[in-house]
Amino acid sequence: MALRSMTMIEALNDALALELERDERVVLLGQDIGLNGGVFRVTDQLQRRFGERRVFDTPLAESAIIGTSVGMAVYGLRPIAEIQFAGFLFLCMSQLVTQAARMRFRSGGAFSCPLVVRSPYGGGVRTPELHSDSLEGVFLQTPGLKVVIPSNPYDAKGLLAAAVADPDPVLFLENIKLYRSFRQETPEEYYTVPLGKAKTVQAGEDVSVFSYGAMVPVALEAAQQAQQELGISVEVIDLRTVWPLDEEAIVSSVEKTGRAVVVHEAPRAGGIGAEVTALINEHCLYSLLKPVARVTGYDTPYPVPGVEDYYLPTPAKVLAALRQVMEP
């Protein structure tokens, strides 16, 4: 495969272009995704290349974006809808949760809804209110909807392709901080990274760290410090699909290490960390040497830019949690 150094933005743009090329049924819609190429340029040049018929701006109405996408998906298209920031998913919850995610269920399999909803999320980049909120935890109670969060350009491209290929709706959350933070050699060709499969980013023996999105580099940095300062070997697992979780990967890692830390930006209560902890409790209690530590956003609204750095998990916070779970 021909490799090219890409940012996550470029990898996503590339993935979308390939989808538009491969499959006439693929259409892109959302606010400012056309001429403007999206407020982050994920859809840059796509309207120029593929025309207004297939890449188009919508009026400013999140619920109608998802609601009409449901209709388009049922018709047989493969809509990829952008919600400009994940915080605005609250405006289309009914269409997403009660309609898109239940189309197959409600119709007894007569109809399906192969819809991908892309949305930027995540903190640390000084955005206004509700532009940084992490919403994945809210969708744990939404059967029928998969939730995918890539942590690097390679995965981003392959997971997006897999999301489009999936016969059911997928919420694809893109971390804003990761958009341009680093480049990675990424194949120019089409490929998929399977949904529902976690990835061991760094194998280790003493403790398992589960994270996703922008928290993967944070976890890795903490793991390195832990190696140096505490002499421990940390296994870092990128969940990649946060719903449904790769339970096998979680369980087998904790059975090996006996200790676990979960790291995410979203609030703690009822977040991915709660479910991962509950799963570990259910399946690995007798291997578990220490309580699972949750290093997460606090149970407050996402703060304003001036103090957001205090809210987010940092390598120091993860290191402290590693120290804690490593106590004898």
Binding site: R53, T58, A61, I66, G71, M72, V74, G108, F111
Partner: protein, 365 residues
Amino acid sequence: MAIHQIDPGLVPFQILDPEGNLVGEMPALSPERLLYFYRMMRLARAFSDRIIAMQRQGRATTFGSLTGQEAATVGLAAPLQPQDWLATSYREIASLIVKGVPLSTLVYSFRGYTPPNWPAETRCLPYQIVIGTQIPHAVGLAMAAKIVGDPVVAVGVCGDGATSEGDFNEALNFAGVFRAPAVIIVQNNGWAISVPRHRQSAAPTLAARGIGFGVPAALVDGNDILAVYETVRQAVERARAGDGPTLIELLTYRLGSHTTADDASRYRDPVEVEAWRARDPIARLQKFLRRRDLLSEEQDEEIGAAVQAEIDAAVREAEAMPPMAPDSFFAYVSATLPPRLQEQRAELLRFVSPSPSQPQPGERR
């Protein structure tokens, strides 16, 4: 007919007056077609009565009466082609029947089950419970047809109450902006449960909503099936010809309570109900047909009997269909069941006796 104008005005379009007199231009409809309309209206009313009776006997779940809205719901579906899409609420069951959904499938659903054989080829979405939510779906279907270049129209139908929902208005706006081949129909039956139309919106008509979204609109006597048919036909043709969406308000009336769980006498003046009973849509077409010698008394009785027989057969068929399996709700969560759900299904099956006693759908609300 005022579809091409932006302001639908205040006078509903009518072809038959309440006495069954022709007061407008007769659409090109054969006697057979007129009798078909009549038959479907009779079927709609009888079907509604039957399900309500079954609900009282504990054989069906909550059901919303169709009575009084037969001209609207039959008339709006009649002009549609097989390739056209239809997205309705629970109140347009007659439209689904006309569009081809088998009675037995519907009866099975009112037993409280998901039909295993929802006829996707009829291009009817399962009727919607979340008010207003189907209108964006209809507009999306229409946008898709336009994107693909198919000569397909999508019709979305909802009640007067639904016009207050954000989704209705957002969808109307999308329809206008994308000139979608969509027809958005409001069945204004005067009430949203206990809330009368005039408390739903301060606008003189609901059709006027089109103006502010740049969508041509029509105000129609919804108890006059000829007016309903003709208006929807024109709107569908307009859409198919690439001339964009239309909003249609059908003025009709819900003669029964909101659903089997509702008691309209708590909030509704019987005088109002009686006034509307005098405008019965079935009687109106009947008078017209009688006067034109298209329907003898004998034929009329035959139709009544045939309709009952058809319903009998459908109920028998639906009641002979096996209840859904206890674990059936795992079947259509997604195309493939993730391991976690496989485990949960196994978990459930440990609690289900090998031959499960059939659950009783006798509803409480």
